[in-house]
């Protein structure tokens, strides 16, 4: 075996600490925390960008920021929230929770996992470095050709975007393969696919979406990069290229991306509701199949982002029908969640509030989505604030509420401390009200004709008042996150210590200590049902005997646990990649040097040799 244990649970119960241990960590839990922390910081950055935009739009003919700055802000707000906030926040939960939920000790490829994180950070830093050198991307998060061509965007702003997104895509692909292998191969004995927690199921669907969708945008970005750096003309109509090629490639990635952003939150809600309603998920197989259907149909609807480009009535009809079909599995899920609450015994916690907020807001986002599915309606609404409202009801009302439900739910498991429930509830209500004050009026603004992505507007169009209201709402949202930060600050210093199972949970992660030991499970449990821990504690509720609890680990058990040792090659490899890619903006010599460094690090990474564990060599 290539992996020998460097970690000895029997002797060192406490995990190593210090900066170096975090830089070289390959522990999925620490990588999860790194992902979560970075994502939250970028979430705040994207939020500040949004606040500046809202200030600019608070009044007509406002001059707080100019056209150029505003265009940079909405480009970076979209790119940041999608790639640097919501996706890595989901990745935080994949990393931390999937091994715990399936009864594993780590992911399948722990060093690759570390590499995913460092490469993500490299891409994120490159993207945001553009602000420092005064060349922030300004082509929109969707980067439509021909505006992104060298002719119409001559500076380096689009280059930052193209290179940054390629690096981020690499990170997502590596993580995607890693989690697919982990989920398929590393489930505890007895955990058949249909006994897998629904969060893990939704994560699995997301990983397949990632590995199938990201190649499309990678191709699109490489063509664009060739157009910009080497003078090819893939998207130049004058030379026989086609700007619509970009749109097709982008949206065949872009629409599955929406499900990449929302399915993890749906998975979280499917864990939180049963725990606090104290009932199993209603129709769990249907929720799972619906998730798979959403993922599958998600690849057949991309052109509904393009109803205005003039594809002709047949294509419009086909994509319209496909889009409407997606509403079925989505609607089914919502009914199943309400079915889960029905005749339950609902305990109100911050985590549950956020899940309820998710359902309530997502219904709205889903229904306005059905409206856009109809091309005649969409022709009026596309590229207006109505769509801005819709997408925020899905990605903020949906994803962000869902992810924060997960944060409140799993916080005790991750940190070993309870968050303050009162502050959590306050956070929820402030965020819910702020969110609706911000985004609900945008439906109306869109219907009375306010287009998206405009840095200013004339005062006589009837848009003034509700833009001001929306700005006020945005600051309410900001305040709600200050409450969250205060809550974290307060409870990390003096919060109640969390028991292993503070919520009377249903799944395996609640069977182990909070926070879990480095090796997660002393003895790998045997699984008898989807809600394994609940079965152990309460039985199946139909008079059957409770499932047997796994035996306490013996010294022998602990001594035989293999955990991978830390490695500094992931961060070095990511750093040399960043060096190579940023060379494209500086000098060809840097690209060559960076490429050689990257190759060297790859080899060292691949051939890394681990010293055998002393006890290993004894046997």
């Amino acid at each position: 075996m290539a992996t020998h244990a460097a970690f000895m649970p029997g002797e060192a119960a406490a995990a190593p600490s210090g900066l170096w241990s975090w830089i070289t960590t390959v522990d999925h839990k620490r990588i999860g925390i790194l992902y979560g922390t970075s994502a939250f910081i970028f979430f705040l950055v994207g939020g500040i960008e949004a606040l500046i935009m809202r200030l600019q739009l608070a009044a007509p003919d406002n001059t707080l920021v100019g056209a150029q700055r505003f265009n940079e802000l909405f480009t970076m707000h979209g790119t940041t929230m999608v790639f640097l906030a919501i996706m890595p926040m989901s990745a935080a939960f994949f990393n931390y929770m999937i091994p715990l939920l399936i009864g594993a000790r780590d992911v399948a490829f722990p060093r690759l996992n570390a590499l995913s994180y460092w490469v993500f950070l490299a891409g994120a830093l490159l993207l945001n470095a553009s602000f420092v050198v005064g060349a922030a991307p300004d082509g929109g998060w969707f980067g439509y050709a021909t505006l992104t061509s060298k002719q119409f965007s001559p500076g380096q702003s689009i280059d930052f975007w193209v290179l940054g997104l390629q690096i981020l895509g690499l990170s997502s692909l590596m993580a995607g393969f890693n989690f697919i292998v982990t989920i398929v191969n590393m489930r505890a004995p007895g955990m058949t696919l249909m006994r897998m927690p629904v969060f893990v199921w939704m994560s699995l669907v997301v990983q397949f979406l990632v590995v199938l969708a990201f190649p499309a945008i990678t191709v699109a970005l490489i063509l664009l990069m060739f157009d910009r750096f080497f003078g090819t003309l893939f998207y130049a109509p004058a030379a026989g290229g086609d700007p619509l090629l970009w749109q097709h490639l982008f949206w065949i990635f872009g629409h599955p991306e929406v499900y990449i952003l929302i399915l993890p939150a749906m998975g979280i809600v499917s864990e939180v509701l049963p725990t606090f309603a104290r009932k199993p998920l209603f129709g769990a197989p249907v929720v799972i199949y619906s998730g798979i259907m959403i993922g599958f149909f998600g690849f057949g609807v991309w052109s509904h982002h393009m109803f205005a480009v003039g594809m002709g009535p047949v294509a419009d009809s086909a994509f319209s029908i496909a889009t409407m079909l997606i509403a079925i599995p989505t609607g089914v899920k919502i009914f199943n969640w309400i079915g889960t609450l029905w005749s339950g015994s609902i305990r109100f916690t911050a985590a549950l509030y956020f899940s309820l907020g998710f359902i309530a807001m997502f219904i709205m986002g889903g229904l306005s989505g059905v409206m856009h599915a109809s091309p005649p309606v969409d022709l009026q609404q596309t590229d207006t604030y109505f769509v801005v409202a819709h997408l925020h009801y899905v990605l903020f009302g949906g994803s962000i509420f869902g992810l924060f439900s997960g944060a409140y739910y799993w916080w005790p498991k991750i940190t070993g401390r309870m968050l303050d429930e009162r502050l959590g509830t306050l956070h929820f209500w402030l965020m819910l009200i702020g969110f609706n004050v911000t985004f609900f009026p945008m439906h109306y603004l869109g219907l009375i004709g306010m287009p998206r992505r405009i840095y200013t507007y004339a005062p006589d169009l009837g848009w003034n008042f509700w833009n001001l209201v929306s700005t006020v709402g945005a600051f309410l949202i900001a305040v709600s996150f200050l409450v969250f930060i205060a809550n974290v600050w307060k409870t990390m210093r003096a919060g109640a210590v969390a028991s292993p199972d503070p919520w009377d949970g249903r799944t395996l992660e609640w069977a182990i200590a909070s926070p879990p030991p480095v090796h997660n499970f002393g003895v790998i449990p045997t699984v008898h049902g989807r809600d394994e821990l609940w079965l152990q504690k309460h039985g199946d509720g139909h008079g059957g005997t409770p499932a047997p609890r796994p035996p306490a680990p013996t010294r022998q058990d602990l001594a035989s646990i293999h955990m991978p040792p830390p490695s500094y090659w992931p961060i070095l490899l990511a750093a040399s990649m960043l060096f190579m890619m940023s060379g494209a903006l500086i000098s060809i010599y840097q690209v060559v040097l960076g490429g050689l460094l990257t190759l060297y690090c790859m080899f060292r990474f691949a051939l890394e040799y681990h010293r055998p564990h002393p006890q290993e060599s004894l046997r």
Binding site: N71, Y144, K279, A308, I321, R347, P376, Q380
Partner: protein
């Protein structure tokens, strides 16, 4: 009653409901009849799509109310009560799940069929009698040409009421989107292809349009107007546009004409009989237009002077260069342009 008081979220629910209701109602009161409203259509195209919009809106509204009510009711009715036993572990209900799946499918049929009918109806080829208007979207202004009438203008399209208009959309630079909300949906202007939008306006009036596809720095300033005339007024307008450029009478304007002919203006702008530039708007009848600079600024002498002296200061990123015109030069040019009725 003590049970009601224990409800941990009764107050919050009330606040939430109140907030949603206030917002909804307030939006309603603000009125829908604004200059760029999408919900009071003034063309056949707009009326067709609006019909589908209203149909879907009502269905989604009812579903919204029903589902949110079911959610709130479940949360209120099944809240934890002290000392309650563990609820029955129900895993699902097949018949129920099948029936709501079928219900969704039926509702989608109800909105899907009219959707497809309208898709085909709004994209039919125009009748031979339709008036063709060639629209060119450029960074960041609009050019309108009437090939049958030999008329070219910018940022203000004039069309006759009751007549089918076929807008042919094309552009030389980046993707734009042609959108006059009150006359119907948008259609993208894509370099390298010609898109078509066919509609028949049914009410005379002035309608505001705006580029709806992000197209670079001054995307927000790429506005325009469509003026729907009665048949007679339209013919009068066409006759005016077909006339040769007016000769300036005032001395200042005459000086402006001279200056125009001698300066770099002629490289980009056409004034019939003087210049033949094609990069900027045709100015032959500039004085007949109410606005300039992408439909953004009212055509006054004062605005024109500011514009000529520093175009970029008025419209970020504008491609028109600053030619260093100052004082009397720019005033003369402004006077000349305004005289071109």
């Amino acid at each position: 009653m003590s049970e009601r008081r224990q409800s941990p979220f009764r107050f919050e629910t009330a606040v939430l409901l109140l907030a949603v209701l206030t917002l909804t109602a307030a939006c309603g009161w603000s009125g829908w009849d604004t200059k760029m409203t999408t919900v009071i259509p003034k063309s056949d195209f707009g009326k067709l799509t609006h019909g589908v919009f209203m149909l879907i809106s009502w269905w989604t509204l009812w579903i919204f109310i029903l589902v949110e009510a079911a959610l709130l009711f479940a949360v209120w009715r099944f809240r934890e009560r002290p000392g309650a036993p563990i609820p029955k572990q129900i895993h699902g209900h097949t018949a129920l799940e099948i029936s709501w799946t079928v219900a969704f499918a039926v509702i989608l049929l109800i909105i899907g069929i009219p959707t497809i009918r309208v898709i085909f109806k709004t994209q039919e080829a125009p009748a031979a009698t339709a008036l063709r208007v060639d629209v060119t979207g450029r960074q960041w202004w609009w050019e309108f040409k009437y090939p049958a009438l030999n008329v070219a203008t910018a940022n203000e399209a004039h069309i006759p009421v009751g007549q089918t208009i076929a807008f042919h959309l094309n552009g030389p630079d980046v993707i734009h989107s042609f959108w006059v909300p009150q006359l119907g949906g948008k259609r993208d202007v894509i370099p390298g292809r010609v898109n078509r939008l066919v509609l028949t306006p049914d009410t005379p009036g002035e309608y505001i349009g705006q580029c709806a596809e992000y197209c670079g720095t001054s995307h927000a300033n790429m506005r325009f107007r469509v003026i729907v005339h009665s048949k007679e007024d339209f013919e009068r307008w066409v006759a005016g546009q077909q006339a040769p450029a007016a000769e300036p009478k005032e001395p200042l304007a005459q000086k402006g004409k001279e200056l125009f002919g001698q300066s770099a203006c002629v490289g980009c702008h056409t004034i019939a009989g003087i210049s033949a530039g094609v990069l900027g708007p045709n100015l032959t009848h500039f004085g007949s237009r109410k606005t300039f600079a992408g439909g953004m600024m009212p055509s006054t002498a004062e605005n024109l002077v500011t514009w000529i002296e520093n175009p970029g200061g008025m419209k970020a990123g504008v491609l028109m260069p600053n030619l260093g015109m100052k004082g009397e030069q720019s005033q003369a040019l402004a006077a000349y342009l305004l005289s071109l009725k």
